[in-house]
Subunit: 413 residues, 2 copies
């Protein structure tokens, strides 16, 4: 039977334990929501001061050159690429995940252009909604007979992909359940049917090792403000492998994607390479802070992070099932390691109220309809003792029914 | 004959002179590039610290509610609206100018949808290139026979707008020449032909009084990092008047524009009002800093700023023409007040080299092809003595030919 002392022993032997010192976390909080908003790297404050006071305030307009502002989306892209199996010149950090998905989906349809009868985008109903919404927006505006096919479970995927399929668009790790697709097998399934596949890595990048090339991905997008700790709403990323760059076209053809942005030519010519995924001028302060998160990842490996991530999620599942066995909690996240991301979700009939009670006691997870309590595990700043303590607080809340079933819903949860 | 003492006297009587203390400007610099990147409000450093250390670091995910992050695009929009003649609930600060122009142009085409034969977007060859590029991107992807008609001069506008015109898309103040369109007359011209008009206020917002309602605008976008001093690459804005909101549709239909973003419904329903111009999660740190610039504008009026702006640009033109009369400088900016923005552009055969020499001597303007030196005048932090001193340094450089005609071009100028 696991005890708190066992957890403390594991922390004492944890090679990643020291990384917590690089994050600013408030006292009295067990933060299990890094899958929604990553914790703050301590370095971010000094970096912001440098960008704001020195680069903006003192160096002013010259910083577009001298501080490398104009190249920042590419430079950060090259820093991020190794974490997802990308190569130099294949990633830019820019815009939002939604906007980048629009670009990727449009480009994928363009790459399929001319292939008769390929009019369907296959995705799943349980995908993060904005992905479906962006596909809706794109296909409705193109008005050329494209439709979206929503599957209700990953099992339906083989039957849903066929000769009519232009693009398969999936989120690698599901935001609610933590289910992880087999990227390689799923990409192969799409390719066998002549379709392209676009992966959303919002809950994968920084959470687990991803190898987009080995995984057979065609295009990918993702988020920097979750597991990558880039800051609230920090710019997202898009990956375009070199093989697709020559034919990569997207409608948001702004000046940052032009072959000669400062020639001020009156018609658009896309630049070579990944730069054609860029559009307009980027929010430099938020963008610069992304580097503070990436710097930390470069001090370890995604493999080491994954080992601890699985140990943390295994421990959480084990302890909840042992110590809260009397309560109606349902595990939603796959037990199988290969199918699991870096979060654990449990249902409870009063999931929202229980989560509010947890937050009030300093255990910060979040809630997603219907009835799902999400707990994200971030090996860089979460300890085994944190897991123990979180489960003990959950058990206490449930044992004493110390939650308000009429708790008011916040606007954003 | 104007002297430096006259300039000092005008500074002594200038009711706006005190605002310079709210900006951080380096010693020894006369900054005449606020039309490209506005100077740094001193308050921005403390605000960044608050957002990063307190809201992100300490309050973590809760700040989406408690710090009002989710409402920030709307709240800043309401703060910005009075500067452009907009009303509450008509503006959001979000995304980039390029992306917002894409939304506005798409929405304008949608509003015109079904009007037979209206297939042309009229704009001008001298428009800021990204505006043309975004129109190209949109029309090429729609692939429904839309075309772009480029005029070579504002004089050609009446002849260019006709029964085939869906949308007129213009930048109110030209980025190179400083030419200002008559918004009311031009909007009326478009409407008389049955067209809609989309205005880009990149060089107008914070530069001069704008009244979008009185000016007859249909939709507008603009920039916060120039005259509004929002910070490098700070998020842009889009204005949708209430009359067009019910039928406003745009293809970047992300979850922030959904009627119930946290219901996680699998299909898109646009929210009522200006929120439907939103798309994805915004870069909160950069976004929050926009408020520091807006706060300063709320301590004065655009009318007071315009009076000083015209006095500064008049003075600059007068002094350059008097004191640099021996040199081949050509005024590009209109002399007529009503046609002038808040910048002055002069051509010189060695414009690039002269501008580099000016920058080396602390007079920061910028250069735009072909042969144009741009000088932006920002009444909140530019004095009459600054104008005198800048012209004296220009005169000295020209008299002594103290510039390097082989100066290497920077990547970004």
């Amino acid at each position: 039977m696991t005890t708190r002392n066992h957890c403390l022993e594991r922390d004492a032997q944890d090679a990643l334990a020291g990384f917590r010192d690089q994050f600013d976390l408030p006292a009295g909080v067990i933060y299990l929501d890094g899958n929604s908003l990553g914790a703050r790297p301590k370095a971010s404050l000094a970096r912001a001061q440098q960008v704001i006071a020195q680069e903006w305030g003192h160096d002013l307009i010259r910083s577009w050159n001298t501080a490398g502002w104009f190249d920042l989306p590419r430079r950060l892209g090259d820093r991020l690429a190794p974490l997802i199996g990308g190569r130099d010149g294949e990633v830019v950090v820019t815009d939002t995940t939604s906007v980048n998905l629009f670009k990727a989906l449009a480009a994928a349809l363009h790459l399929q252009h001319g292939k008769a009868g390929r009019q369907v985008i296959v995705t799943e109903r349980a995908n993060f909604p904005t992905d479906i919404y962006m596909a809706e927006g794109l296909t409705r505006w193109l008005d050329r007979g494209y439709s979206i096919r929503l599957i209700d479970s990953p099992d339906e995927l083989p039957a849903a992909i066929g000769a009519d399929t232009a693009v398969v668009m999936l989120t690698h790790v599901n935001y609610r359940t933590g289910y992880q697709y087999d990227m390689q097998a799923t990409s192969a399934l799409a390719h066998a049917a002549g379709a392209l596949i676009v992966w959303d890595l919002a809950h994968s990048a920084g959470a687990l090792p991803v190898d987009l090339h080995a995984g057979g991905a065609d295009l990918a997008v993702g988020c920097t403000y979750k597991y990558l700790n880039g800051g609230p709403g920090a710019p997202a990323f898009i990956w375009v492998p070199r093989m697709h760059q020559p034919d990569f076209r997207q409608p948001l053809s702004g000046w940052w994607g032009h072959a000669a942005p400062f020639a001020m030519a009156p018609s658009f010519t896309p630049t070579e390479g990944i730069g054609r995924a860029l559009c307009g001028t980027q929010p430099i302060v938020s963008l610069a802070l992304v580097e503070c998160g990436l710097d930390i990842f470069h001090q370890t490996s995604m493999e080491a992070i994954r080992v601890k991530s699985l140990a943390l999620t295994d421990l959480f599942i084990e302890l909840v099932e042992q110590r809260c066995a009397a309560h109606p909690l349902g595990l939603v996240t796959p037990r199988e390691h290969a199918r699991r991301g870096s979060q654990v979700s449990f249902t409870h009939p009063h999931g929202y109220a229980v989560m509010q009670a947890l937050i009030a006691r300093g255990v910060i997870g979040d809630y997603r309809e219907p009835a799902i309590m999400r707990f994200g595990f971030t090996p860089l700043y979460t300890s085994y003792a944190d897991v123990w303590d979180a489960v003990e607080i959950l058990r206490d809340i449930l044992d004493r029914q110390d939650y308000n079933v009429d708790a008011r819903r916040d606007a954003v949860t």
